[in-house]
Amino acid sequence: MDIWYTENHTDNVRMSIRVDRQLASEQSDFQRIDIFESNEFGRMLTLDGLLMLTEKDEYVYHEMITHIPMATNPDISRVLVIGAGDGGTVRELCRYDTIEHIDMVEIDFKVVELSRKYLPFTACSLDDPRVHIHYQDGLRFVRRVAEGAYDLIIVDSTDPFGVGEGLFTKEFYGSCYKALSDEGILVNQHESTFYESYRNSMKRAHSRIKSMFPIALVYQAHIPTYPSGHWLFGFASKKFDPRTDLQAYRWNRLGLKTKYYNTILHHGCFAIPNNVRDALREAENK
């Protein structure tokens, strides 16, 4: 038997992974959710056919979307996570005893339900008493929270076509700005620049964030199963510059064991290639 999962990275480029078996397939109110078992990448989650995570490389994404802001401001205690139904981001956040409250806003109950059942390696901290899960639209949730309610907002979204569309808009970033304290940080999944369609999404997101926040940077990571393997995150803040405000000593003293992130890489990941820098400049000058 020869079963392959294939994702079209562009109309002309495909990535395929041999699948051992399909563990789940459900159509929720919002999207189609599939979970596969593979020999090379372990378990894999796809939404509407697009790969969200694999057991083998999810750590890169989840470490980079959490430890960068946490090492920049270790005093963060109130966190809002949008999306992230697989639980990986919350798993990393729960390793910090200093975090007192995590609101996780996921639109699709089914993603969380299936993740709990089939992806225990990411969903393992969803029952932590500090974690409060809200099943609703992220844009709606942020609009309604009190001003300055959070120290950190993490936008762990899908691509900006379909369910995640509202999380790449100017009104969303503006609502996040309002929901953040004066020391607030916004980190978001920021697409990539290698392929045209993702490049456009990335530029639009950057110009919108830049119009709201005084500090708006991007940083990179290498995620083998994402299109082009080179992926970006956005770091926006009202106060902190992650390059100069890094609290390396404090973070290292926590003794967190990580597979990708470290405080030297923290500096390095903001050193971005020229093609990304050019795209950011284009977006800023538009």
Binding site: G166, E171, S175
Partner: protein, 483 residues
């Protein structure tokens, strides 16, 4: 013939599908011959669309003289809308309104109507020389919106003009306000007048639950319905509905005075499909629409500054009923004119709404929307208030300016005229229309005396960025007046 058609059928669609399979050789118009003569057009619009852009022929009937599939499609539409006859119109509700008015009255005859009608109604008077008897609509001064006509005001006009031929009613207005159409129909009929309804924004009244009363249900004689607005057909397609009292063969003649002899089959088949969809699924579609608008009203009213109004404004008379599928929002207390919010939504947030006037905006919501878009609209409004809101003192409230009619629209439109500067036009009789578009309700119509209030209003609307249309001088620096 003799087959029994139900609302499940779509006779025109079925005939076009069969036509497609027949692979008829084309030696008729249109000259693009199914797109082969214009590849770029075919690529842009899609193969099916250009292949189905055909002209009337034996098996596809003819809109000017319908005897087979178009006739059947129109009969099904009449049934679905509870009308005696329905006519497919391919030049918008504008065409339907004009045919309706040209049917009801001729040169020199009177038509009772509210002044806040769409320009197409007054256009019809320019065409046929009938004379308007305007009834001032009530207004909500706080919101700066015209309401419907009160029963008493219409009754007064009827008693003063017993020779009038018909009463025209907006059902609803652009903002979603309905007059007591049932009461007005009885009033008209008891005085031997026809009741005509401009239902450009009322398609859904025929299919949804908890809706204001539709014109046909109220006993109106004719109604012009813009199916493309909320009924799901293609832009520019509409229907003219007629009740029992109307001679449909005469109406067909009148429609043929101005309507094209090459009616687009794309438009007509979209009417056939929209009718079937409305008949079969309309109730669910409009329930979903109302869930969206009820939710949006509640959320928008929590933002503060905005007022998304609803049924609470009903007064049993000139605001007899509210169309809850309309998302009309008063913006002035955010310190922003409706048109400014409209521009910000478009330019900063990538959201296109239907219109913004001096104090209000209107978003069209249908079952074609998704929760995602509703959330975006609400959040964008919240952000616009946070980032751009200011002190509202000193803002002009749009108010209804009662017209001074000096000449019938046709007389003024064809009078010997001269062009004068807008600021110097006070006291002159205007020969042309001036309106913000949308909503397309004239500030000035041909035959009306220009006052200082009107000049001030036009200047303020220009300053706030309203798109003003109508006059020959497209920059509205000058107006044509009677010499």
């Amino acid at each position: 013939m003799g087959k029994i058609l139900t609302q499940q059928n779509a006779p025109l669609l079925e005939a076009m599908q069969e036509h497609k399979l027949n692979r008829i050789v084309r030696f008729d118009v249109p000259g693009h011959k199914g797109g082969r003569g214009n590849r770029e057009l075919a690529e842009f619009l899609g193969e099916t669309c250009v292949r189905m852009d055909v002209n009337s022929m034996k098996n596809l009937d003819n809109l000017c003289h319908p005897v087979s599939v178009i006739k059947e499609a129109q009969e099904l539409a009449a049934q679905a809308f509870g009308a005696e006859n329905a006519f497919f119109i391919v030049c918008g509700a504008t065409g339907a309104s004009q045919a309706m008015i040209l049917t009801a009255c001729k040169a020199g005859e009177k038509l009772i109507m509210p002044r806040n009608v769409h320009r197409s109604a007054i256009n019809a008077l320019v065409l046929n020389g009938a004379v308007p008897v305007y009834v001032d609509p009530d207004e909500n001064r706080e919101l700066g919106i015209p309401l419907g006509m009160s029963y008493e005001a219409v009754e007064k006009a009827v008693l003063e003009n017993p020779d009038a031929k018909a009463i025209l009613v907006n059902n609803p207005t652009y903002y979603g306000v309905c007059a007591d159409i049932n009461g007005l129909a009885e009033l008209a009929h008891s005085h031997g007048m026809m009741l005509l309804a401009d239902e450009a924004h009322g398609t859904h009244f025929y299919f949804g639950e908890e809706m204001p009363m539709s014109a046909m249900a109220a006993g109106a004689d004719m109604a012009s319905v813009s199916i493309h607005k909320t009924g799901g057909s293609l832009t520019q397609s509409a229907m003219l509905l007629c009740g029992k009292s109307v001679n449909a063969d005469r109406v067909r003649q009148i429609i043929n005075l101005t309507q094209t002899t090459s009616a687009s089959y794309l438009l007509m088949v979209s009417l056939d499909l929209a009718r079937r969809n409305l008949a079969l699924n309309g109730r669910d579609m409009f329930r979903k629409t109302m869930q969206f608008t009820d939710y949006a009203r509640e959320e928008i009213n929590q933002i503060g500054g905005y007022y998304a109004y609803g049924e609470e404004l009903c007064n049993g008379n000139s605001f007899y009923a509210f169309d809850k599928t309309k998302l009309s929002i008063h913006t002035r207390n955010t310190g922003l004119a409706g048109i400014e919010v409209y521009d910000l939504l478009r330019d900063e947030y990538g959201i296109q709404i239907e219109f913004g006037d001096i104090g209000n905006i209107l978003a069209i919501v249908t079952a074609g929307d998704r929760e995602l878009e509703i959330e975006r609209l609400i959040s964008s409004l919240a952000e616009i208030k946070r980032l751009y809101g200011k002190d509202p003192t000193g803002m002009l409230s749009s108010e209804y300016i009662a017209p001074h009619v000096e000449l019938a629209p046709q007389q003024a439109f064809y009078a010997v005229q001269e062009s004068v500067k807008l600021r110097e036009s006070e006291g002159r009789v205007c020969c042309e229309f001036v309106m913000c578009y949308p909503p397309g309700i004239p500030i000035l119509a041909p035959g009306e005396r220009i006052t200082n209030d009107i000049i001030d209003y036009i200047c303020y609307a220009k300053e706030k960025g309203c798109s003003l249309t109508g006059p020959q001088d497209m920059s509205i620096e000058t107006l044509c007046v009677v010499k």
